[in-house]
């Protein structure tokens, strides 16, 4: 029998980049110098001994140089609040990567429409950067990114680079912009960006990640655009306690029986979870 699947790998925080009031980017390296070996869209269990574990999606692409990987962490629970208090060089534990990633091979040669809401950009960025690093493997790439306010925009510098690139289209929006804040982009919820997007219906996949409320409205808009359900890919958030398909916390029902989001997801094809009330 194998060693305990609950034993994390030792890892070190290489770099900490505060991004917003609530979100910080951590660059992490496994102490055994191995690459994490993940697919875009997978997650890890981050362990802070004495505090606990939290499932966090991997925010960097496997195409990133070097063996480190990045996690964008919102301070929202015990583990994530303690993480925000750690320093560069501090040790943490990592289990994983777990789950199914985005179906990158299936999407090769296709138009990809990325739609991210708020912290949903974190898992999506692992695929966006993959697609940008291997730009010729994908056809048309569009990114729609919405936040509540300009101060909540994540990866500001990188997003600036996306705006400049002429081989992708990038559109951003904020729900509202406080007076006195400089904002040149769109104002309105993310669904307001969708009607103006040109879509090649034969060749487009939409890859969506955001809070549950966003899914409901974005999926309605994508339906209006006639994108078939099976070409909509989304990533679900659940509190996976074990990551091993056992603890039961992330189980939902779906078209092919029940799913354990930690193993069968977190990335799902919309057709497989459509209409199942526990999913979205």
């Amino acid at each position: 029998m194998n060693e305990s699947p609950y034993l994390p790998e030792d890892a070190t925080i290489l770099k900490i980049t505060p991004m917003t009031e609530r979100e910080t980017l951590f660059e992490i390296k496994l102490d055994n110098y191995n690459a994490l070996g993940h697919q875009p869209g997978q997650f890890v269990e981050v362990s802070v001994p004495g505090v606990g574990e939290a499932p966090i999606s991997i925010s960097s692409s496997p195409t990133k140089k070097g063996n480190s990987f990045e996690l964008c962490v919102r301070a929202v629970g015990n583990v994530t609040n303690v993480l925000h208090g750690l320093k560069e060089g501090d040790k943490i534990g990592i289990r994983g990567p777990y789950g199914t990633g985005f179906p990158v091979d299936e999407l090769k040669g296709k138009d990809v429409l990325f739609i991210a809401g708020g912290l949903g950009i974190a898992p999506l960025r692992s695929f966006i950067n993959y697609a940008l690093d291997r730009r010729d493997e994908f056809a048309d790439v569009k990114i729609l990114y919405g936040c509540r306010a300009p101060c909540e925009i994540l990866y500001g510098d990188e997003v600036g680079g996306w705006k400049e690139r002429d081989d992708i289209r990038y559109h951003e929006t904020v729900d509202r912009c406080p007076e006195g804040v400089c904002w040149e982009g769109n104002i309105g919820v993310i669904t307001t960006l969708i009607p103006g997007i040109d879509i090649d219906l034969e060749n487009t996949y939409a890859v969506v990640c955001g809070p549950p409320i966003m899914y409901r409205f974005v999926l309605m808009e994508l339906d209006k655009k006639n994108i078939p359900d099976e070409r909509i890919i989304l990533s679900l958030e659940r509190h996976m306690k074990c990551g091993l398909g056992k603890c039961g916390h992330c189980q939902i029902n779906g078209s092919k029986g029940e799913y354990y989001v930690c193993q069968d997801g977190p990335v799902f094809n919309y057709a497989d979870i459509k209409g199942f009330e526990e999913a979205l």
Partner: protein, 343 residues
């Protein structure tokens, strides 16, 4: 099949308690109920019990167990922990043995869970056929009143004597080593055993074949009115989860000693009926309503675990029925109502 006299069985048990290095566990009376607990003498063993408060799963998946130990000197070091105690458990009813086999499938599915499996493998399981069924037990309907496997030894009270069926080499070894006097069973003994099995009566019944449950549950997932009505008096206390021999969901969390130099990562029983079970860090709860949580448990028992492991994950022990304070958790009643309402 062998025969052992009641007195010889008692000596066999006492011998094990004194001489075997393993912990000897059996069913004991506590108050007017029964529990699995460490035996100090064969006099404590009650093989004529109806049902125990908790199933024997507590020995393989303890209420709380340590998965990792943390020790911090300069830096924190995590080490896997598995507190395995070798045991001989006496007096497990067939429905509980079948439940253990189901749990084995859950925890041996990749990735394997050594914390469960090593405990299970280090245990000798000695079953006993029911001499009476508890009021709420419906094992007869669930085809779990008897079992041909899942035990090392199986006993049946023939009145002053016990039939002994040997299930595994582990069971045979235990008998051989003890030097206990066994007789070969006669044709009459075998007939008597069959008669005793045939005479076992159940007050509670499910009125259809358990094999029909997956389809029935699937058809009733969207029967919101049914689930809302039946969950109306649910306290969301999770007792039905805790006493269930096939419920295995757990929480993982850390405990730190006050010195802050040592700590542990533990897992403890959790329950899908509890309000925060499907909640995520941001506060979103994917089974926010009582009825959704209540339904989830029945879906797990009749459909979900069947999809995954081909087991009907209710063995009809009746513990949830009898221990639910508002008495709304009787699976036989729920399944029968769904069947009656079938269109």
């Amino acid at each position: 099949m062998k025969i052992i006299k009641k007195d010889d069985l008692d000596s066999f048990v006492d011998e094990l308690i004194v001489n075997d290095p393993r912990e000897v566990v059996g069913v004991k009376e506590r108050g007017n109920k029964y529990v699995f607990d460490t035996l100090r003498s064969s006099e404590e063993l009650r093989l004529d019990y109806d049902v125990t408060i908790l199933p024997p799963k507590k020995y393989f998946l303890p209420q709380r167990e340590t998965l990792l130990k943390f020790r911090s000197n300069d830096k924190i070091k995590a080490e896997p922990e598995n507190d395995v105690i070798e045991r001989i458990i006496l007096g497990i009813h067939p429905y509980d043995l079948i439940a253990i086999q189901q749990m084995d499938r859950v925890f041996s599915e990749e990735p394997e869970d050594p914390n469960y499996l090593k405990k299970q493998e280090s245990t000798v399981l000695i079953g006993v056929n029911m001499s009476k069924a508890s009021e709420r037990c419906f094992a007869g309907s669930m085809k779990t009143a008897f079992t041909d496997d899942g035990y090392d030894l199986m006993l049946t009270d023939l009145g002053g004597r016990y039939a002994v069926e040997i299930g595994t080499d582990k069971g045979k070894e235990l008998l051989d080593k003890s030097g206990v006097t066994l007789e070969d069973a006669s044709e009459d003994d075998r007939k008597l055993l069959e008669e005793i099995k045939n005479n076992l009566k159940f007050e509670t019944k499910m009125n259809f074949e358990p094999g029909e449950l997956p389809e029935l549950m699937k058809a009733n997932y969207g029967n919101d009115k049914f689930w809302e009505e039946n969950a109306e008096n649910c306290y969301s206390c999770g007792t039905c989860n805790l006493v269930c021999p096939t419920c295995y969901c757990f929480d993982v969390k850390d405990l730190m000693e006050v010195t802050l130099t040592e700590g542990s990562r533990i897992r403890q029983w959790d329950g899908c009926l509890l309000e925060h079970f499907a909640e995520v860090a941001g506060g979103e709860n994917f089974r926010e309503e009582r009825a959704e949580r209540y339904r989830h448990r029945y879906m797990r028992k009749g459909l979900y675990l069947h999809n995954k492991f081909e087991d009907i994950a209710c063995v009809g022990c009746g513990r949830c029925s009898s221990q639910c304070v508002p008495d709304i958790a009787d699976p036989a009643e729920i399944f029968n109502k769904l069947k009656e309402g079938e269109i």
